[in-house]
Each structure stands twice: as C-alpha cells, then as structure tokens.
Symmetry: C2
Subunit: 194 residues, 2 copies
C-alpha cells in the first residue's frame, strides 16, 4: 500500500528511528565496554546523532537502557503469545509459552542483548513490560491451577515470579539443557511430566 | 594477642582497606545513580582516596564492581557452609543451605548490594566466587541424588544452576513468600515435601 504519509506520521517515524538508534548504540556499547562505561556522549556518537538530539529523547543513559529493555521484553511477549494455541488447555499453553521464553533467553544471551538484559534483570528499573510478561504467565498459571493441573498451595503470582527467574538460567546453559530446565521448572509448580 | 606487626602485614592491611573503600564506594554510587553513571573519579571521591591511588588497585570501574561482587559471594558462601549441620543427611543440608541462600538474597535486595548483585547476575563478569557457590550447591545435590532423595534424570550441575536462578526471585518477594519459593524450587528437583 503506498498511502502518502501525513507529516505527523513522518515525524513519528523519525522520532522512533532516533530512539531505536540510541537504544542499539547502548546495547553495542555495553557489549563492548560493559555497562559502567556508557555515557550519553558515547551513545550519541555510536548512534550517529548529536548529543543535543539524544537529550531531546532521553534524559540520561539509564533512560536509554530502560527503553531498550522495555522494547526487548515487548518483542518477547509477542513471540510468547504467538507460540500459544488458544484452543489448547491452559497447562499446554503454559508449557508452550515457557518453552518459547526459555529459548528466547537462551538465544538472546548469545548476543549482546543477553548480557544487557542479565544486568538489568530484577534491577527495579524495568516496570511496565516486565509486569506485562509476568501477568501473561501468571494468568496461564492461574487457569492451569483451576484445571487442577498445577499446585494450589502457592499464589499464581509467586509461581510466575519463580518461573521467570528459574528460566533465566536458560541464558547460561547449552542448547540441549534448555528443555530439561523447563521440565524441572514446571515440576516445581506441581506439573505432571507429559 | 598483641604481636607487633611486620611491615609487610601493615602494607597488606592498608591495601585491603583501600580496596574495600573502593568497593563500598562503588556500591553506594550504584545505589544512588545506577550502574551507568559510575566512573573511577566518582569511586575515588566517594572512597576518599586519590584517583592515582585507586588506579594502583583497580584498572577500571568494572574491576571494582567485579571485586565487590566476589567479596559479596564469598561472604554468602561462608554463611551457607555455617548453616549446614555436617551430621545431617544431604537433603537436609541442601534444604538448610538453600533456605539460607534465599534469605540472604531477600535481605541483600533490601540494601544497595542487592541491586548491584542483580545487575551483575549472570553477566559473565563474575567467575571464581560464583563458581565456588555453584559447586557447593552441586555437591550437596549430587549427594542427595545418590541417597535417592532427588530426581536423577537431570545432571546435578544443571539442577544447581536452576536452583540459584530460581532462588534469585527471593530478592523480589515479601518475607513470607521466601519459604514457599524454596519449597517450590526443591519440588522442581523432585524433593518430597517434608
């Protein structure tokens, strides 16, 4: 479709491109120097934009980092939702989602993003996207508990938190161990082996 | 005992004090500004030492961070070992160690150290102390597997990695949820409820 773009759409696209460039720069710099060394000047240089421009989009380097992580989790959440067959029982949907999450953790740890995410994990700087991910998993767990397929002596929200932490281990194990990690994690929640 | 100190001992003590001051400064700065903002100059100022002195002990801010984390884990490992009754069966020693680890994660997350450790967790910058901690847990698991108290279809090292990741969740939950997290984590490894 070649719809002529409105001026505001062009502006929005430009803004998104600048924001994305800043976030990519941050990820690249952290991969190269480690988190500690990253400054707004470095991000601007790496992104190929002026410092003044960068400051129009982000107040500081921490904000770039947070935005990058939000973007990362939002992408993962889309992939989790896509992995789930809406017609399947909750326990099967949960297994599919957790398998996908573990594989994403495994693969992103093999790129610079993984290290960055590991730095950020549980740091309190990530709120919205992390909360959405946890709600998605929590709701699947709650449904599977109602179906009698998971333990009911621990709240679904606590189990979701346990899950996401346990599956973060997927970033540190060889490929063939990822499935075993998911099985062990599910067993903790009282899932019967399938 | 008032043994007169040798000159080399005095020097060693001084070196250790400078290193500790740098690490404490790093932890305080991260708590205040987030990881990204920390520079060698800030660490020196916060520690009350000259930049030139600081550079004699650490090549860069990342090295201070790594040393701090090593020190943190070594302290935790001592507390884990102390929590274990050598006469108890392996599964009971494992439970005691994991309970202690979860409580340490919970408490340190409530101080600046927790956030720092969360940033570092799984980042690949920590090697020796983290490896020692994992070996300690792995050996307890292997013994409990031999006793028939834990599942034997997943290697002890993979289970130890799962454990330490799952229990990192203790840093993000209320106090009364810590024990439930340990129970769920143990159940993943096939431990029978006690």
């Amino acid at each position: 479709m070649s719809v002529p773009k409105l001026w505001t759409e062009t502006i929005d696209a430009h803004r998104a491109a600048v924001r994305d460039a800043a976030m990519d720069a941050m990820a690249a710099l952290v991969a190269k120097h480690g988190l500690v060394a990253v400054t707004m000047s470095q991000i601007a240089e790496q992104a190929g934009i002026g410092r003044a421009t960068l400051y129009k989009y982000f107040p500081d380097a921490q904000a770039v980092l947070t935005a990058w992580h939000e973007r990362q989790i939002a992408t993962h959440l889309d992939q989790l939702a896509a992995a789930v067959d809406p017609a399947a029982p909750a326990i099967a949907r949960l297994e599919a989602a957790l398998n996908t999450y573990a594989r994403l953790q495994h693969h992103s740890a093999r790129h610079h993003g993984g290290e960055l995410a590991a730095h950020l994990h549980g740091s309190g700087h990530v709120h919205h996207a992390q909360q959405e991910l946890r709600s998605f998993v929590r709701d699947l767990i709650a449904e599977a508990v109602r179906d009698g397929d998971l333990r009911d002596d621990v709240a679904a929200d606590e189990l979701a938190n346990y899950c996401l932490h346990a599956l973060a281990a997927a970033g540190t194990v060889p490929q063939d161990a990822v499935q075993r990690l998911v099985t062990v994690t599910l067993a903790g929640m009282g899932a019967r082996p399938r």
